[in-house]
């Protein structure tokens, strides 16, 4: 570790926990089709690098394999069993959205060795997590509450929602920039408000649609976040997530300790690029548009498929989804929007627009 971090300007700013959802959020990029060998290969590499928490599952979490979000290759149990065995040191994380998964899925995940469980709700809907957080606390696992599509809520609203999550038993709270919409000042305001409202660890999860994921994560750390999410090669929906092997050395240069071995982390990222993805995420045209429009990055593949079938511009589809404030989980709106755009065009005499 000391050798690999030589050259950092260690001012001793304390410890940050890096949480790695490569095998969960990254799943969106490959339509939830990772194999047991792929899961095992990356989990072993992340464990060897000292990544403290490795999260696994369908991109939308436990119980989410579906036509709506895409069917997964493996069952939740298969994914958890494989990754659990591949993590002799790291803790295993899982994610669940109430309304997609149920307490039955949570009990099963706990039985399969999940150590850290995140319950996600949309930004102003924290009370949907109340019973699930209660169940997890009774089961004795670490339970966090996280808020999706957080750009749709103000700093004060998010702070209030986080305080509620804590009142339901959350031992950590956080926000996801599900659309990759934030600029650093947006993150600073939100994390600072949350930090002031709760006394449990605060988390930030970035997406890179506007090229801001690492900068936003740094802003979060400086505003008081304790947990940062990042994925190897940024593996994730659309333009990808915060890039793990960039974030960790950046934090080290700023004087934050993560306990992660940088050389081995770079090795793990190479494994991820070679084994998990056809190519690393890039900020392409639809990625930029979905970030600007404030639409969940996970819509990308469905928007491209349906836009091609309906012969409409996927950028128009993203902006219209943004106008309608579609949230993660509302993939069903894509068909309505694409058909509507095509019909509108036909109504104007077949002109493209």
């Amino acid at each position: 570790m000391s050798q690999q971090t030589t050259g950092t300007d260690d001012t001793g700013r304390g410890h940050l926990l890096v949480h790695d959802p490569t095998l969960r959020d990254g799943h969106h990029a490959v339509r939830h089709q990772l194999t047991a060998a792929q899961l095992r290969g990356y989990a072993e590499a992340a464990d060897a690098a000292g990544v403290p928490v490795v999260e696994v599952g369908h991109g939308n979490g436990l119980g989410a394999s579906s036509l709506q979000a895409g069917p997964a290759r493996l069952s939740d149990e298969e994914m958890l069993s494989v990754v659990r065995e591949a993590l002799p040191h790291s803790r295993m994380g899982v994610f669940m959205l109430p309304g997609w998964g149920t307490m039955r899925d949570l009990r099963r995940a706990v039985a399969h060795g999940a150590d850290v469980v995140r319950i996600g709700t949309h930004c102003t809907e924290a009370d949907l997590a109340e019973r699930h957080l209660g169940l997890l606390r009774e089961a004795g696992v670490e339970a966090h509450g996280v808020l999706l599509m957080s750009h749709m809520a103000s700093p004060a609203q998010l702070a209030d929602q986080c305080a509620r999550l804590v009142s339901y038993g959350a031992q950590g709270v956080g926000i996801l920039d599900s659309s990759g919409h934030y600029l650093p000042a947006d993150v600073t305001a939100r994390i600072a408000a949350m930090r002031a409202a709760v006394d449990v660890p605060v988390m930030f999860h970035g997406h890179n649609n506007l090229g801001m994921a690492v900068a936003n994560s740094v802003a979060a750390a400086e505003a008081g976040a304790d947990i940062l999410d990042a994925c190897a090669r940024g593996f994730g929906a659309g333009a990808g997530n915060t890039q793990l092997e960039v974030l960790v050395p950046v934090l080290a240069r700023m004087g934050w300790r993560t306990g992660i071995d940088v050389y081995r982390l770079l090795d793990a990222a190479d494994v991820a690029e070679r084994e998990l993805m056809p190519k690393p995420p890039t900020i392409d045209s639809v990625g930029i548009v979905s970030g600007l429009a404030g639409v969940f990055s996970g819509f990308k593949n469905r928007v491209l498929d349906i836009s091609a079938r309906q012969d409409v511009d996927p950028r128009d589809v993203f902006f219209e989804l943004g106008r309608r404030q579609a949230v993660a989980g509302q993939e069903d709106l894509i068909v309505d929007v694409a058909v509507g755009l095509r019909e509108r065009r036909a109504g104007r005499g077949g002109q493209t627009g």
């Binding site: 036509l67 309304g99 149920t102 307490m103 949309h122 102003t124 009370d127 949230v327 989980g329």
Partner: protein, 302 residues
């Protein structure tokens, strides 16, 4: 049964659902709303009910047990856990319970599919808002086509989802899945619920996806439109917004706008399940009018 031919009704629960339900019952030619009950005196819902001239009480199910005579129909608009207890207490009094929570206790009824079965059951479950929106369409389509897998995705506006529903998301998912299975015969069913924070609020929406055989757009649309027409008899804001079919896959989405009463337009989830529940109570009232004997539990067919 009252001398005026109306069934006496109590509404248990004065949240978003209970208060709209009371307004709908008050308008019904076949029902008479005699009591609206909450568990606390000063809830906004109860104040609203009083302001519109309805009798109210504040001791929960105890207020119903203390009434001089049992009500013909009790609508339960509380939550799934509470309904189990309510059914145990109210059943012996002879009231017919119409349950708007996803408790899975009573006989599940969707009016256009098995409304006739409501007469003859003493505890009737209205499934869920997503079930009331999707099952009429799915039932019609699965009568004409082989369907092996069904998925129902519901999106309701944050403001239209009250405390009881928020505590019952798991029950919502499981009850909706069970009802789709029971009433369509399709074994492989998944239900998903999104609560949308969008402002202005998004109109209640239910999208159904099907995997089967020979699903043609003409046939799927005809079945769905026919079913939607039948639902509009009691929920006028029920509209198909998308219908796509291609061989093995079909997709039908509906949006339901609320029509008047206590609910803003986006809250079609509340309007639909309440309208369906009142419709069921009216079917029971009609049956009472033509057949004096109330069927006993022993004649149930479930």
């Amino acid at each position: 049964m009252k001398p005026n031919g109306r069934l006496s009704v109590a509404v248990l629960g004065a949240g978003l659902i209970g208060i709209d339900l009371a307004a709908k019952v008050a308008r019904s030619r076949a029902l008479e709303c005699r009591l609206v009950v909450a568990r606390a005196a000063d809830t906004p819902g109860l104040r609203q009910a009083r302001a519109s001239g309805l009798a109210t009480a504040t001791d929960g199910v105890g207020s119903l047990l203390a009434a001089d005579e049992p009500f013909d129909v009790v609508f339960d608009a509380t939550n799934a856990m509470a309904h189990v207890e309510h059914a145990g207490l109210l059943g012996p009094l002879g009231s017919t319970l119409i349950d708007l929570t996803p408790s899975q206790v009573g006989h599940m009824v969707v009016p256009t599919v098995n409304g006739a079965e409501a007469v003859g059951h003493r505890d009737i479950n209205m499934v869920s808002c997503g079930g009331q929106a999707s099952i009429p369409l799915l039932h019609a389509i699965t009568r004409r086509h082989r369907v092996d897998h069904v998925e129902v995705v519901t999106t309701a506006a944050s403001r239209s989802v009250g405390r009881g529903t928020r505590l019952n998301l798991d029950e919502y998912v499981e009850t909706t899945q069970d009802a789709v299975r029971d009433l369509t015969g399709v074994k492989d069913v998944k239900a998903i619920l999104n609560i949308s924070p969008a402002r202005p609020p998004a109109t209640f929406r239910v999208a159904t996806s099907m995997v089967g055989q020979d699903l043609t757009p003409e046939s799927v649309r005809a079945a769905a439109e026919e079913a939607a027409g039948r639902v509009r008899a009691y929920a006028a804001g029920f509209e198909i917004t998308a219908c796509v079919a291609e061989g093995e896959r079909a997709f039908v989405a509906v949006e339901v706008a609320a029509c008047g009463d206590r609910i803003p337009r986006y809250g079609g989830n509340l309007d639909l399940i309440n309208s369906a529940a009142v419709h069921v109570a009216e079917l029971i009232a009609d049956a009472h009018g033509s057949a004096p004997a109330v069927p006993t539990a022993g004649t149930e067919t479930s």
